[in-house]
């Protein structure tokens, strides 16, 4: 089970993306648990995360999250702005999957 967590400001815009990503996951036949959380809640969900993706509007948190979570073996990266803006679930899911080692 691949566990992907998306984080943005309030967890609202990323939750739109989650739905699209889940649909894409079904199409690809991939078992993935995808979650969207607000920045403030991230610490409660980080234990159940393999890949953490940041909304581009909070990309200034990338270094902070990398420093905090990469030592725990979690891959941290930023969602591509255009894929995010177009809410392209398939592209973002494929990118997330490519980050799994």
């Amino acid at each position: 089970m691949k566990r992907i967590t998306l984080v943005c400001g309030a967890g609202m815009s990323t939750s739109l993306l989650v739905v699209k990503m889940e649909q894409a996951a079904i199409k690809l036949g991939v078992e993935a648990k995808i979650l969207a959380v607000a920045e403030a809640e991230l610490k409660h969900h980080i234990e159940n995360t393999d890949v953490l993706l940041l909304g581009p509007q909070v990309r200034f948190l990338l270094n902070k999250y990398k420093a905090a979570y990469e030592p725990k073996g979690i891959v941290v990266d930023v969602i591509n702005s255009i894929d995010y803006g177009m809410m392209n679930g398939e592209k973002v899911l494929n990118y997330a999957l490519s980050l799994f080692k």
Binding site: C8, G9, A10, M12, S13, L16, A38, E39, A40, K43, G55, P56, Q57, V58, R59, F60, L61, N63, K64, N80, S81, I82, Y84, G85, M86, M87
Partner: protein
Amino acid sequence: MAYEIIIINKTGGIRMKKIIEFLEKYFVPFAGKVGAQRHLVAIRDGFVAIMPLILVGSLAVLFNNLPIPGWANLMKSIFGDQWNSFGGTLWNGTFAVMSLLVVFTASYNLAKSYEKDGLSAGVVSFASLLMLYAGSAKDWAIPFAFLGAQGLFVSLFVALVSTEIFVKLMNNKKLVIKMPDGVPPAVSRSFAALLPSLITLVIFGALKIVLTDIGIPDVHNYIFTIIQKPLLGLASSLGAALLVVFLLHLLWFFGLHGANILLPITTALFLPLMSANVDAFAAGKPAPNIITSSFFDTFVYMGGAGSTICLLAAIFIVGRREENKAKAKLGLAPSLFNINEPVLFGMPLVLNPIYVIPFILTPLVLTLTSYAAIAAHIVPKTIALVHWTMPPIISGFLATGSVMGIALQLVNLAIGIIIYIPFVIVSEKYAKDSEINTSKTLNM
């Protein structure tokens, strides 16, 4: 950023590019650091955690005072004379005590950011804060006056300082009492926190004595008078509002979450102004402040930052490119709830030199028109807090308790559409022209 900056024409485009490059080099990393700054983040998360409670309290006050003729009589006839004590009770536990709530939540989040025990840190901060209140010896009371928004500055100060002391002490191995392995984690955690808690509390107890000795028995009143009141006076001005709106949109232009980065400051400034209005409304007195938290969410950020509901409407009215209309449709549903990242990153508006003018101008203009409408007593002041995702029209009524709130939103919508329309046309023309040029080049 893997974006191509669209060049409008040679000279205008190059100047714009230089400004953007300069800002990207200096402003963006700075803003990023501010947005990630540990203490500001803790304050912001602290406020976010108590938002549900504050919203409930605000709605309770609105419920008690709905300016619908006959409402009070209707309620009395169903629930009796004390019908509004229910709302009052809800307010007492939430809005009225936000300083007590936020000292814990901010402290908890700050400690957690250091990977330390948030619960212990929060409890210690709470106790430290209570020590500083000038209690009434008469009936062992803590002054309600400073439990709410009026006490926010002291609360935030205590939360940050107390937690910093606590965390530094927790880092000192010699001060952490270790329990043998068999002891339950909750017990060993509280023993580990014992000495750091003790020392932190002693420090604040001593602080209270020092303050009383130097003639400040009521530090809350002191801070409120010397710092909070003047600062809030500045914050409630039109100039401050315009500055905040400008900065917020400048951040968004670079794809940074403007609202989030500025939240610690905007909440600390505008929530007390909101609170003063709520209190006045509850007491049947005229509300003092035009600028409040819900002023912006209701009349300026309609559809999200950039007042983008106006852009979407403009696209539906004059837009002819299928691509634009599809993007507008994609962004419409979340925009109704003021969530507009699909629009910001999808159009895109971020780093878009054609749309930058209406994107920053529209909210500034709407701030002016809304301020003017309220100052001229055409529209009532905002007297209730509404969540930023409350759709326009509904928010207009809820924030002001009046249909004039809705009317102002509709007027603002019209103004915003008028501002955006020419830029939609220019943007589409430019897109069409570059398509023609590309196909000409390809056909060569």
